[in-house]
Point group: C2
């Protein structure tokens, strides 16, 4: 019996033409797509009061060829000098390259590029081949006062790549993407910063074949941007992966680093424990390209034992129950799960659709048992590590979740989530094509402030009629977690979007959330940074900035708030 | 049947007279003593070629009343100002107090005080009552350019308290030793820095009674100085406790801090995870009083479940076996043991005497089984946490140790060690009374350099005839560990001692050890710091120093190497 599936929008299913704006803002692989399934499509129409007729014609698609009106502001002799340093093939001042390497993955950038409005661009893209090139480039730029922005994988969602003051963009993932050394005794690997997530993880997973190792390893770092972000980017923006509750975040994982700064070059020592004063290795983490250029990093690696992974999922009767269970789990001293994620009622509602639970017998059972829609909360996760360790972690988690009234719903939803986790971002283009904006903001939070932050941010987002707000917590510590807000609305206007986004950031900060848990600061949340940290702490960061980069050539124009005017700051 | 025990030296068994030099340098409680047992006494005579006749007469005992020739260099109006700020009862310029608060627990200081040679002293001891006092004091000292040294528990073994430039010493443990707040939801506690180890741990262990908590907690930090060191001291010197392999070191444990510096005051935010640029909270850790004064700290705490502790001890056939097993354990992904300690053959030999194993059936069995003296190595430890977690950790450790040929010798030696661990330092006075020097130096090390560092440092120490060198590793990471060298020699002369000590530090640094794993830098190893970190990293620390303390009033005179002349540095 064939079901009548009704109208399906003409979701774009072909790669953007090379050279177009769309080829820049589109997420991920040019050939990668994830279209809303029927359930999600019906939901979108319902939530936003839209009908099939609203999905007949696409809005701005950005299919035009890139042109860029901003003249190259470097002098010919300066360009010649860069050519001398890296070779002719390793510089480019084409409109397309200039724009591409100045663009990250924010909604604002995508909205602009759809309309053919280029963002602030660099004057030249330079592809250093090795750290000697980097040293010469930084030295020359410092002398000539040419701004330098560093490009890793290009997945910044904080305007980290925007070249407010022009200058050059240094693309690290073109050549500087090699493994420099591997030390199985110390369980470390040293890489150049431009190595991308999949290449990095694949080398480690296949260490016996690729590195002559005895065992297989994992980097333990799986941000949603995994496929399109670089190890260097993870480090300088303080990234945190989906398994960070067990493996730690980048701040924990990076043992030592080598930097080239206008003030000189250095490599920190790789002792796992040391009491020799403030740790310069850690001072550099989170510097977002404003202190200097990361040219190599030594990272902790972990035994790769996927055969020991134990998956679990639960439905909680309420959000309060899910939060209380999570807190008890993370404070339980039996080891942490790797992936752990609790979704609030609105996200749960959507997730049951997206992870293939709605419409299955599981869904009937949970509804029958009284786990009611818009109150019930989904929890998914997995434990990694040694076999008995993961068995015990899962056992304890089950026990605690049951105590809070949760029902175990197998590991099936986790498998679905694992399968979809890097694909979900592709959905953005389809929604945007029909004027639906989807975006995220996130914050670190202590346990005692979680509900307040959640309620107050939701309150703001939901105060705009017809706006979806889904929230989850996905990075856990005994002292707290993060809240990740996904908001979806029918919204096309850049100014309206910006005002809305600013309102959310402001509400997060005022409600006691950190300005970012793992996206970083960039030029997007930096106007709030001084209010957030206080002037005295900003002054500490500024003192470091002044030391490393006295001429403010490194990622200038607002990153980390170093060179904002008073009127550009939020008070 | 009464055994003839032979001659026993007249070990000092009475508290030093108040006001004497001895009352300053003696470790711990005035009434606390631990005398060498018979086995150790016989060993000492044998090792150092001494006879009973050498233990008839004590050398310098430091029983003279303290006098101090250094005039008070503060002006009367300055002293009046301090009196105004903290009240008359909270300042002192007596010779005794000036010396006491300028003295730590190094061998050099003890040697000098035994001979009545005062170290470099402050001009006034000030006891702030609260952070407002601290703010006024720092502000006034900054205006008047009066040096400020901060005193926590007084257990520094790095000359951290030596007042090279005079000025005031601020004693934090007199009044500023309170619990400020307790947050069971977040599992954190906020304390003033002067709270001492036992008070801190006792409040946490008795949290239901003392803080109205639901559970009992532990701070998880047990340095050997535990009884006579302060929480603030632990933080600013980057301390590491004997259970750090599980609970982490102070760098890991401190969530946020409040500082008063010449450049202003601030309190860092207490998010457990955040991506808002370089972390000022961490920048302050290890600053050893050179940036400003710590006035409160929020620390992570842990569930206290001593009923789940599982102890274990092993004898390994060789040091190589013990090291390899340790590495496999720490890289095993089943959770870390809390206490874990492997002793090299020379320390094992001594430990079997001291921990009551030599002369017991266990000793006969291990010798019979071919674990030969001066090759065999002792391993002791315990697992803490949730019940099934500790069971699994111990099980895995047993399995790995057996694989490397080790024999399980019950948890008995660990209990003995636990009982003696805070008492052992008392033995120093007895040895020193008869001209035997005992001291320690320690280093962080990566696994791949452990044997080289061990061999080369031993080689240097043992090149001096009649010198005992015992080594253990006691803080473990998947990437490496520490080496803790204990050296004992018949040595009275301060200059000979200093030359010997310098030689060891130099050898540690040149052999690829970190300059300190957990003692800190102070004014003792600071001459090597620039060589160790490199000029570029020292310049980063100096930039911070200049920002926080432009007039160099905070712990000046060599701490962290900030104000050393070129000829004072080791190249």
């Amino acid at each position: 019996m064939k079901k009548n599936k009704g109208f399906t929008p003409d979701w774009t299913n072909t790669a953007p033409k090379p050279g177009t704006f769309r080829s820049i803002f589109k997420w991920g692989s040019p050939e990668g797509f994830k279209h809303p399934n029927r359930r999600l499509y019906e939901t979108l129409k319902e939530k936003f009061g839209m009908g099939d007729e609203d999905f007949q014609t696409k809005g701005f698609e950005g299919n035009e060829t890139v042109t860029c009106d901003t003249p190259v502001r470097l002098k010919p002799e300066q360009i010649s000098r860069f050519k001398e340093i890296v070779g002719e093939n390793n510089i480019s001042s084409s409109d397309y390259d200039r724009l591409r390497y100045s663009t990250g993955k924010t909604v604002e950038e995508a909205m602009k590029l759809r309309q053919g409005i280029p963002c602030e661009v660099n004057d030249l893209v330079v592809h250093p081949r090795n750290k000697d090139d980097v040293r010469e480039i930084v030295s020359y730029c410092n002398t000539e006062k040419i701004p330098v922005t560093v490009y890793g994988g290009g997945s910044s969602v904080t305007m980290g790549l925007r070249c407010v003051k022009g200058g050059i963009t240094m693309a690290m993932n073109t050549h500087m993407n090699r493994v420099l050394s591997f030390n199985e005794t110390n369980q470390t690997i040293t890489v150049e910063p431009g190595i991308m997530g999949p290449a990095y993880e694949s080398i480690l997973n296949n260490a016996p074949e690729k590195l002559g190792a005895e065992h297989r390893y994992t980097g333990g770092h799986f941000p949603q941007s995994f496929e399109y972000s670089s190890v260097g980017g993870w480090i300088v923006t303080l990234g945190s992966g989906q398994a960070s509750s067990y493996y730690g975040d980048m701040y924990d994982i990076v043992l030592s680093q080598e930097y080239i700064t206008p003030a000189g070059s250095f490599k920190t020592l790789d002792f796992p424990g040391t009491a020799t004063g403030p740790k310069v290795n850690d001072i550099m983490k989170g510097s977002e390209g404003t202190f200097g250029v990361l040219v190599s990093a030594t990272l902790k690696i972990f035994r790769y034992m996927p055969e020991n992974r134990r998956r679990f999922a639960f439905i909680f009767p309420t959000w309060e129950g899910a939060v209380n269970a999570s807190r008890e789990i993370t404070q339980g001293e039996f080891g942490m799960p790797a992936v752990f994620r609790i979704s609030d009622p609105e996200e749960t509602d959507m997730a049951l659709k997206m992870y293939g639970i709605e419409g299955t017998p599981i869904n009937s059972i949970i509804s029958y048992r009284g786990y009611n829609p818009m109150r019930r909360c989904l929890c998914i996760g997995s434990a990694e590590g040694e076999k008995s360790f993961t068995r015990n972690v899962k056992k304890k988690i089950k026990k605690i979740c049951r105590k809070y009234g949760a029902m175990y719903i197998t590991g099936y939803p986790v498998k679905n989530w694992e399968h979809g986790r890097y694909i979900d971002p592709y959905i953005r283009e389809d929604l945007n094509d029909f004027g639906i904006m989807i975006d995220t903001l996130e914050a670190g939070v202590t346990w005692d402030n979680l509900h307040r932050l959640h309620q107050r941010v939701r309150e703001f987002i939901k105060s705009r009629p017809g706006t979806v707000c889904m929230t989850h917590a996905s990075h856990f510590y005994p002292q707290g977690t993060n809240l990740y807000f996904i908001f979806i609305a029918r919204m096309n206007d850049i100014h309206e979007y910006r005002k809305f986004q600013e309102g959310i950031i402001d509400r997060i900060e005022k409600s006691g959330g950190s300005l970012s848990h793992h996206h970083g600061v960039g030029k997007m949340v930096s106007p709030w940074l001084e209010r957030h940290l206080g002037k005295e702490q900003m002054d500490v960061l500024k003192a470091l900035k002044k030391h490393f980069d006295p001429h403010n050539i490194m990622n200038p124009g607002g990153t980390l708030g170093f060179d904002l005017e008073e009127n550009e700051k939020k008070n």
